[in-house]
């Protein structure tokens, strides 16, 4: 079956340019590309976090992992844990999910740990 080589070439180029079309379309048609700047809700009742904000922004994952290993592996359970985040930052939707959905990093912590 002799497919015209030109047709294949055109299809291939179209597939390659498809995302470009999507971006152009979304930029022109609607503010599709314009994502809301992640907004972290400030807790009402408390002012000071366990650690300062810049440390938390860059190291909350390492910090939580250390806390977990201490608690599960070494039996050292201090006052701070995932439960203490819940007390001030009450809604996960307005706290963790804001950035994690923006960066497409899905979390499977909340499959077992309760965080409304």
């Amino acid at each position: 079956m002799k497919i015209n080589r030109g047709v294949i070439a055109v299809i291939a180029v179209l597939i390659i340019l498809a995302p470009l079309g999507y971006s152009v379309l979304s930029a022109v048609v609607g503010p599709g590309g314009q994502q809301a700047e992640p907004f972290l809700e400030k807790p009402e009742n408390a002012s000071k976090c366990v650690r300062d904000t810049t440390y938390m922004r860059f190291h909350h994952m390492d910090y939580l992992r250390e806390l977990r290993n201490d608690a599960v592996r070494r039996g050292i359970r201090g006052e701070v844990g995932l439960f203490s985040c819940r007390e001030c930052h009450t809604s996960r939707e307005r706290f963790c999910n804001q950035c994690h959905e923006a960066v497409n990093l899905n979390l499977n912590c909340f499959r077992c740990h309760y965080y409304p």
Binding site: R5, G6, I8, A9, A12, V13, I15, I16, L17, A18, P19, L20, Y22, S23, V24, A27, P31, G32, G33, Q34, Q35, R51, D52, T53, T54, Y55, M56, R57, F58, H59, D62, Y63, A102, V103, N104
Partner: protein
């Protein structure tokens, strides 16, 4: 023909051609079976017969200024039919390697890239440069005032700490521009050499304008018409097709990702990594798959050719190997990203960057330069009407052409 001209054979050139895959050059006794068999050779200026005689005598300047060397796709029709086993295809391959080295702007770099002895050095350059960039990262960031205060925590291995985006984009853009300049320089020198040779031979009647011939060449490249006309290497066209489109798509995606911050169209979505269902990422994964399949097919064919006795020189393997490594480490770092195996991912990503550097920055010096020189030769062939000799040639045909093809 023109008046007698002094031939200046270059003996060292013969050795280099013989050394890099053209061992059987000396057996050719000019029976021209190869030129008859070859689908691609134009009726008025057939090849590879004349290239064989030039190579035997070592007429380096003629060979390097001959577009026909680049019109051959090394499909081995001629080698299989050659009665003396002279394997003209490999000879042409060797000549192409010589012309890449000849036209490369800093020639020592071309010589390094094309010889296995210099491999550690060639690999060390990107690794060292990248390492240097990473080492200078902290002071550079402070200097540029974009240092991010990270709250003093000890960062063992997080992605953005080891390879921040601004560093990668700056580093690779700078070196890509260098490679681009070298590429253009090589193409221009090749074009001038071609014109000079034709002027000397006295047939300077451009059939088409340069613009038209560029368009015709692009059409030919995208549809791979020439490529598929070779009979024995039917599947080679298929694998090159995969690699061509895969690489093109990945290049486009990379360009989009690199220029995303200054790109008016992508105002909002400048956040990495792209969501899996983002069209750009889907295209990248699809193109990666296509490129991987293409590379595998090519490697399989090259192994088959090796069995048939055709020579696979380091010049071929280096390019194919680097391309294959780029695809493997690319998918590897994506899988490790999803598996969140942090230290391993950084390592595979670092190897990926070294291979990409090797692919793009050494483009004008390695076999990848066929992208430049073959395109230039095809445009030149269209431009001078070298291939236009269809049997029902228009009367405007010069008599001299008739004589040659009878």
């Amino acid at each position: 023909m023109s008046d007698a001209c002094l031939l200046k054979p270059d003996r060292e050139f013969i050795d280099r051609v013989v050394g890099s895959g053209g061992e059987s050059l000396k057996q050719c006794y000019q029976c021209a079976t190869c030129s008859v068999v070859c689908e691609l050779s134009p009726d008025r200026r057939p090849f590879p017969r004349k290239e064989m005689i030039w190579a035997q005598w070592g007429l380096k300047d003629r060979l390097l200024a001959d577009p026909d060397v680049w019109l051959c796709y090394q499909c081995n029709d001629c080698s299989t039919h050659c009665p003396r086993g002279a394997r003209p295809a490999d000879v042409l391959g060797a000549v192409r390697r010589e012309s890449v080295i000849h036209y490369a702007v800093p020639r020592f770099l071309a010589r390094w890239v094309n010889h296995p002895k210099y491999l550690p050095l060639v690999l060390l350059i990107p690794a060292a440069l990248l390492g240097l960039a990473l080492w200078l990262r902290a002071p550079l960031e402070k200097g540029l005032g974009i240092a991010q205060e990270t709250g003093g925590g000890k960062i063992v291995f997080s992605y953005w700490n080891m390879l921040p985006h601004w560093l990668l984009i700056g580093f690779f853009t700078f070196f890509s521009l260098l490679a681009l300049l070298a590429m253009i320089g090589g193409a221009v020198r090749f074009w001038k050499a071609l014109e000079a040779a034709d002027a000397k031979a006295g047939n300077t009647t451009p059939a088409k304008s340069v613009g038209e011939s560029i368009a015709a060449t692009l059409k030919n490249i995208f549809t791979h018409n020439d490529f598929t006309s070779c009979t024995t290497a039917r599947s080679r066209a298929l694998s090159h097709y995969f690699v061509f489109y895969g690489f093109l798509a990945l290049l486009l995606v990379a360009f989009w990702v690199v220029t995303i911050r200054i790109n008016p169209l992508a105002r909002g979505e400048f956040v990495y990594p792209f969501n899996f269902w983002n069209p750009w990422r889907m295209l990248a994964n699809l193109a990666g798959g296509v490129l991987l399949v293409g590379c595998l097919l090519m490697i399989y064919e090259r192994l088959k050719r090796a069995e048939r006795g055709d020579s696979n020189t380091y010049f071929d393997w280096a390019f194919l190997g680097t391309l294959f490594l780029v695809v493997l480490t690319g998918f590897g770092s994506e899988v490790l990203h999803y598996a969140r195996m942090e230290p391993h991912r950084q390592m595979v990503y670092f190897v990926h960057l070294v291979c990409v550097f090797g692919l793009l920055m050494y483009l004008p010096y390695s076999k990848f330069a066929h992208l430049v020189y073959r395109a230039t030769a095809m445009v030149y062939a269209e431009h001078t009407g070298r291939k236009a000799a269809a049997p029902a040639a228009a009367p405007a045909e010069q008599p001299q052409g008739e004589a040659a093809s009878s």
